[in-house]
Amino acid sequence: MAVFRNGSAKVSGLKENKSLLPYFLLAPGLIYLILFFVFPIISLGQMSTKTSSGEIGQYKQSFRFANYVDAFLQSKEQFGRSFIYAILATLLALAVSYPLAYAIAFKSGRWKNVLLVLIVAPFFTSFLLRTIAWKQILGEEGPVIKVLRTLHIISPQTSLTATSFAVVTGLAYNFLPFMTLPLYASLERIDPRTLEASGDLYANGFTTFRKVTLPLSMPGVVAGTLLTFIPAAGDYINAAILGSPSTKMLGNVIDARFFKIVDYPTAAALSFTLMAAILILVTVYIRKAGTEELV
């Protein structure tokens, strides 16, 4: 480690050189991110206050911030839906993932690595194919609905697809590994002796979980919920495949504004609002949860 530490830099030419080394390492990647992440976001901001110049697809800058108000009012329903669906999907993913991550961390023995690979493995079958597979499994011609109807668990009129239920479960399914892996990472770090100590102090299994395991796994809960919530709030594929017109999310509106209506300023204003809303929520959440251990 000592070699790589760049202490007082002003001693010799070599040291001077060494102190610049991190900047040489950083420069290519950071310049890339400034060119293709920061600048595009600035372009998006500029676009969001433009107005049409008459021709389709041509806009002039007129600093019309009312674009934001218009855009928000036009699609506040989808906006609210994006956040509610994303929150529900995140909670569902947490409920499914926590015991799964717990089992892998504490009960899997030598199968640990295999099970970890299996968590990520479904990723390699295209997520579109898997989402469409869910649509067919739960759909009108699929096996699930027939069984449920024959057993009178659901009425013949009730469908599973084209509902908000389908969209939320689809979101939870698709982003599940983003929840499971950080949970596993934080559970795995827990020293088993702390759990034994809790037992020695006459805590039962549930108390041990509530007072020891759960608090120690909070960094994983925070990271997992963020990594699930953020992509879920911006997603529109699940709503497009598993939903109906009445389950459209903000992503569907932005997509349509861009490609079908060719209304770039509104699409840009909506994208910007979505990003700002997510960043504010995330910042508040991280403050509340009191962990900086994310990046």
Binding site: A2, L21, Y23, S271
Partner: protein, 265 residues
């Protein structure tokens, strides 16, 4: 009965984990099973077993062109993102420097931005500059969103290294470069490989950002999405399942190799 409840309460978490994995894999099995379906153009209802889709995976029009584009975009993006991201990870993992927290923020922000905003903003910039969407803008976009994931993965590996190994190398009169080349790099290599695999799978599977920036270039996810409207050909299931098995083989072989290396040491 009593025995059963005792077994259940003892193994509840295992039963639950089994159900969890079943849930994860149902669509994967479904996709695999329907790759053997003897269906015509749309692969909705089971019509009997056949191997014809596996014998002729390029049978559906344009599907292999789309696959070729996805592989090309995935490979180029992976190489570029892995190089750029690994360099940043070494800077962050090894040095104290001014601007560290700004760098961390710049790495974190692309991961905290929804894909649709990334895609829309890049397209807006390209349109402003008069650049048409296509293959190159798509690769530029993929490298951008893969870099952060590479940095996080490689940085975690660097942070987990035992610094005494490098000190030992220095004590044995290795210079800085030799230490890096013979000790640090081999130890970080599995992290870099994992990051590259992650970058490739993110790029290969990406639809939203690609859809914004690829114009008329079709990738495999774009092909699937467009085909979904009129029924997906079974060949898409063949390709999806193959990717799954290839990825599993790569991971297993990697694991076996690293176990062997550990055994040697």
């Amino acid at each position: 009965m009593k025995k059963l409840t005792r077994w259940l309460s003892k193994n509840l978490i295992r039963v639950y984990a089994f159900l969890g994995f079943t849930y994860l894999f149902i669509p994967v099995f479904y996709t695999f099973a329907f790759s053997f379906n003897n269906a015509g153009r749309s692969n909705l209802v089971w019509k009997g077993f056949t191997l014809k889709n596996w014998k002729n995976p390029c049978g559906a029009p344009d599907i292999c062109m789309a696959l070729g584009n996805s592989l090309k975009i995935g490979l180029i993006s992976t190489i570029l993102a892995t190089v750029l991201g690994t360099l940043i990870a070494f800077a962050l993992g090894r040095y104290k420097f001014v601007g560290r927290s700004t760098t961390n923020l710049l790495i974190f922000l692309p991961m905290a931005t929804p894909e649709i905003v990334l895609g829309a903003s890049l397209l807006t910039m390209f349109l402003n500059l008069g650049i048409n969407p296509g293959l190159v803008p798509t690769i530029i976009a993929h490298v951008m969103f893969c870099i952060s994931f590479v940095v996080v993965t490689v940085k975690a590996r660097i942070a987990s290294l035992d610094p005494r190994l490098e000190q030992a190398a220095m004590d044995l009169y290795a210079n800085e470069w030799q230490t890096f080349r013979r000790v640090t790099l081999p130890l970080v290599a599995p992290g870099i490989a994992a990051a590259a695999l992650l970058a490739f799978s993110l790029s290969f599977d990406d639809f939203i950002i690609t859809n914004f920036n690829s114009g008329t270039v079709t990738t495999f996810p774009k092909f699937v999405y467009t085909a979904a409207a009129r029924g997906i050909p079974a060949q898409a299931n063949v390709i999806g399942s193959s990717m799954f098995f290839i990825a599993l083989i790569v991971v297993v072989v990697g694991q076996v190799l690293s176990n062997k290396r550990k055994a040697k040491i």
